[in-house]
């Protein structure tokens, strides 16, 4: 028997959910919760808010399970819901700007991350992604972190395929420009800090 694709597995689970099977719903949650958390956390940079958005996303999926069109991909649907909720959250933040003590902690982290470059490249990259404009950030996360195909990213973001490609390319260039000086500096430092033979 041929192995089912991700899309087919999702559709089978969702049909079971529509028939009231909560075990199937739990399986769907397990399949997507970490992927969604990965995207939403990077968009909002807040653990608590990201958790709330992911919860709300699954709740919406359950509420609107009957309106899902099986011609489409479940993953596209769930990512779209999650991103719309995250965008609403970002809009709310722009309206009400709060002073948060975690901002100060963030600055401390920024300095320490910069000092760690590039030996701790994933963390430095994580920080640099956080500084990207929202439209580039979303495109980069979906394409290069989640490794979704371009056409799916285009559907999720509801923009043309060419626009996705240019945004991803722009995001990569911005990240390279941001990280490269630090990477070179650290490379030079590692060369210059070789221990003298006498100390070995």
């Amino acid at each position: 028997m041929a192995k089912l694709t991700e899309k087919e597995q999702d559709h089978i689970l969702l049909r079971q959910v529509k028939n009231g099977d909560m075990v199937a719903f739990s399986k769907l949650v397990d399949r997507y919760k970490e992927r969604l958390m990965n995207v939403i956390f990077r968009m909002l940079s807040s653990q608590q808010e990201a958790e709330d958005i992911v919860q709300e996303t699954f709740l919406r999926v359950y509420q609107h399970r009957d309106s899902f069109d099986f011609k489409h991909c479940f993953s596209t649907w769930i990512y779209t819901i999650a991103l719309n909720l995250a965008r609403n959250e970002l809009r709310k933040r722009k309206r009400f700007k709060f002073f948060d003590i975690t901002d100060m902690q963030g600055h401390e982290n920024e300095i320490s991350v910069e000092m760690d470059l590039p030996s701790n490249l994933p963390q430095a990259l994580d920080k640099a992604i956080g500084g990207l404009p929202d439209k580039y950030k979303t495109a980069f996360i979906l394409r290069d972190v989640q490794e979704l195909p371009y056409d799916e990213v285009a559907k999720i973001m509801n923009i043309p395929l060419g626009t996705v490609k240019s945004r991803v390319n722009r995001a990569r260039s911005l990240l390279r420009d941001k990280l490269k000086p630090r990477m070179e500096e650290n490379h030079a430092l590692s060369k210059g800090t070789l221990l003298p033979v006498s100390l070995l």
């Binding site: 719903f25 397990d30 919860q55 990569r172």
Partner: protein
């Protein structure tokens, strides 16, 4: 290919997203250009790091919290849909409240004469006047439309409910101003005398300050003629 053009394609080259022809051209350039090769290595490291970013952790009770919320949702759905066959809309409190509120607002609008106001926006030729009930005229309020110099046509006020909200004294004053010219008033009086009709219900406008009474005769069901004006001085 120039270095600048090669670098614009480097990230796509690292991810194998380019056509075969372009991939070959870039590979050839990279073999001969150490600077672009260094750029390529930087880009490969960044894109590699993107696949191994620190993963945010979800709390251990994430699923149980979510399933509890879903259970609440299911409970609400079952309770509201109980005994109803599929396809019949469920009337929640919110929906019913919004319908009731809309009906109340529309009713209040109609009751206050809003439709008449929309159909007959503020028309300066329409004046509501009081009539004497002592002469057996059932209509309490009339609207007088001056049609000719000496004859006024009246019809029952359609928009009284709204008009009464307006300043009555101002409207009567406007009517009096229209009749205030000496010549005009005389012709009105003579017109009435020529007809010689004193029959029919008598109508008067009372203007409290100064106390002025405008007497009119109703010569036909919808026609009023001016009989005289009486000013009372204290």
């Amino acid at each position: 290919m120039h270095c600048q053009r090669v670098r614009s394609f480097l990230s796509a080259y690292c991810k194998d997203e380019l056509s075969e022809k372009r991939t070959r051209a870039i590979a050839e350039h990279l073999d001969n250009c150490p600077k672009c090769r260094s750029e390529e290595q930087t880009m490969r490291r960044i894109l590699g790091a993107a696949r191994s970013l620190p993963q945010p952790q979800l709390p251990t009770d994430f699923n149980s919290t979510l399933l509890n919320r879903v259970a609440e949702q299911r409970h609400r759905e079952t309770r509201s849909k109980a005994y109803l066959p599929k396809g019949i809309p469920v009337f929640t409190f919110g929906r019913v409240a919004s319908v009731v509120a809309t009906v109340c607002l529309v009713g209040a609008f109609i009751f206050a004469g809003g439709i008449d106001y929309l159909l007959y926006p503020d028309n300066p030729d329409m004046y509501a006047v009081e009539t004497s009930s002592a002469d057996g005229l059932d209509d309490s309020y009339l609207t007088v439309l001056p049609e000719a110099d000496h004859v006024l046509t009246a019809h029952q006020s359609r928009d009284w409910t709204f008009r009464k909200q307006l300043d009555r004294a101002t409207r009567i004053k406007q009517l009096m101003n229209r009749l205030s010219g000496e010549t005009r008033f005389g012709s009105l009086a003579s017109g009435t005398n020529q007809q010689g009709s004193l029959a029919g219900p008598r109508v008067f406008i009372q203007w409290p300050q100064p106390r002025t009474q405008l007497y009119l005769n109703m010569t036909a069901p919808e026609t009023l003629s001016v009989r005289g004006v009486n000013t009372v001085t204290n």
